[in-house]
């Protein structure tokens, strides 16, 4: 079953299409990274999924339930808002007590202690109003997972954290793999690369990609070659007239990065050319694209 599925989900603000014809598919149990530049529509998508905003068009299903039918599905979701704000007059412990109360948890005290320890707020006796943004974000994570919901929706969970806090949070999210579905938005590619199974990329309100990281790397890459030869100039002159070469750029002294249409074809043709032109091959490498390469490619070229 899909944890999140949307069909043509759209949200317009006046004429601004914040989310347009979104068809998301997030299988159960995966860690899903929702990537996009500023203003792409990530927060708007999340607000739609939580019924905090009304869709202009389209439908969404969460854990099999049509979200416009009833709001009961929300009880199965832990949510961390982009800018966490809580009741400033409570302490962290009092606030989690309130959350456990309204989530209908029985005997929550042990769990609350555990959570406070997990986000390192167990010794904090001050009111939430005095917290730093990072402390609030950590409390936000604690309240999201407190009642042990099967689906977590986190809007930029690491944005305000220091490097250590970020690593701990990512490790925590990664530890849910297979047990919970985690849908989180972020700008930070490294975070996605480290812990996600799947990724969705949204650009100007449209989903330009929704795939597993594995597939993504397979399909998007492996068409980039790095070669080092003794006469790079001569080789580039020859290659520029060939139609299977898409892009070419010199690197370092003798290196060339090649984007090719068909990798296997290139693997066969290149040696021929090299021997015909009497060029020595020193190094040959298939380049793994980083997620950043893919992200930039997708965001700049559409798909």
């Amino acid at each position: 079953m899909l944890a999140i599925k949307t069909e043509g989900l759209s949200k317009y603000f006046n004429n601004k299409k914040a989310v347009e014809d979104l068809n998301l598919q997030v299988p159960e149990g995966v860690i899903f990274g929702y990537l996009g530049p500023n203003g792409a529509g990530k927060t708007t998508t999340i607000r739609l999924l939580l019924s905090l905003a009304k869709p202009t068009k389209g439908r969404a299903y969460i854990l099999g339930e049509n979200i416009s039918k009833s709001r009961n599905y929300l009880k199965k979701i832990g949510f961390l808002p982009e800018v966490p704000s809580f009741y400033n007059f409570f302490t962290a412990k009092e606030f989690l007590n309130f959350i456990s109360d309204i989530s209908g948890m029985v005997k929550p005290n042990k769990k609350i202690e555990e959570m406070l320890q997990l986000v390192e707020l167990n010794k904090e006796k001050k009111r939430i109003g005095t917290y730093s943004r990072g402390m609030k974000q950590r409390l936000g994570i604690a309240q999201a997972i407190l009642s042990d919901p099967p689906l977590l929706i986190l809007d930029e969970p690491t944005s305000a954290l220091d490097p250590e806090g970020r690593k701990e949070t990512l490790d925590l999210i990664a530890s849910f793999k297979g047990q919970k579905t985690v849908f989180f938005s972020t700008h930070i590619l490294g975070d996605v690369e480290k812990i996600c199974d799947m990724v969705g990329i949204i650009k100007e309100g449209r989903l330009v990609l929704n795939d597993s990281i594995e597939n993504l790397k397979k399909s998007h890459s492996k068409r980039t070659l790095f070669i080092e030869v003794d006469k790079p100039k001569k080789l580039m002159e020859t290659l520029q007239y060939l139609n299977w070469v898409e892009e070419m750029s010199p690197v370092n002294k003798n290196g060339i990065i090649l984007q090719v249409k068909d990798l296997q074809f290139a693997q066969k043709s290149l040696p021929e050319i090299l021997s015909k032109e009497n060029i020595l091959l020193n190094k040959w490498e298939l380049k793994e694209p980083t997620l950043e390469d893919i992200f930039l490619e997708v965001v700049h070229n559409g798909n």
Partner: protein, 251 residues
Amino acid sequence: MVTKLMKKEWNEYLKTGKFYILLFVFIFFAILSPITAKFMPEFIKSLSQEITITVPPPTWRDSFVQFSKNLNQIVFIVIVLVFLGSVAEEKNHGTASLVAAKGIDRRKWVFSKFLFQILFSLAMLTIAFFLCFYYAKLLFPETQFYLAFSSTVLFAVYLFFILTLTIFSSSIGNSMLQSAGIFFAIFIILNILNIIPQVNPYNPMTLPSIENQWIASKVAWGNTIKPIISTVLLSLILIFSGAAYFHKQEL
């Protein structure tokens, strides 16, 4: 769920000091009312020794004239200002969306706030009434319980309406300021409508003047059925439409 949410309101009122503000205002004006009624005329006399002003001797009724005046002015303003942000400020601050995203029925959330506010206010009003009555009896032994009590009950009906208007305004507005605008706009329109004799008997805004008439002469529940029933109906419309609006609103 409603009691759990009310418990949070209670904690909030204790921790933010709203509880003490309201407690102080109610108690202060409850005690002050009979005292001013008793000593104000003498005080005025003592100020003007050259010209002799004839001030009628104070009666026990003046205690409750003062009490009603204070309730309708200062206590009214304080209550409205304290309660007006209850929903709107949570929307503005983002805690409303947090609670809504937990799957809490938003209508219950609004009702729990209203229920807390009305119970809290009625408790305060009860304390204030008995304090005022105690001091009035002390200063004016002939003070009548039935009239004093009845006029306070009538004020409670009016207060019920004001609280529903407050929660309605708070549910519609997205900030304290917007809600205040909505509240006072409706409040002023109702007061203007009160000039029209045909609307008058159905207008909640007639209740304070009826209260004053009672205090000046005698209790007449029979003639007050119409405004009471229409006030209660209007209140129910306000609270239900406010909650329904908030239920559908984007947060």
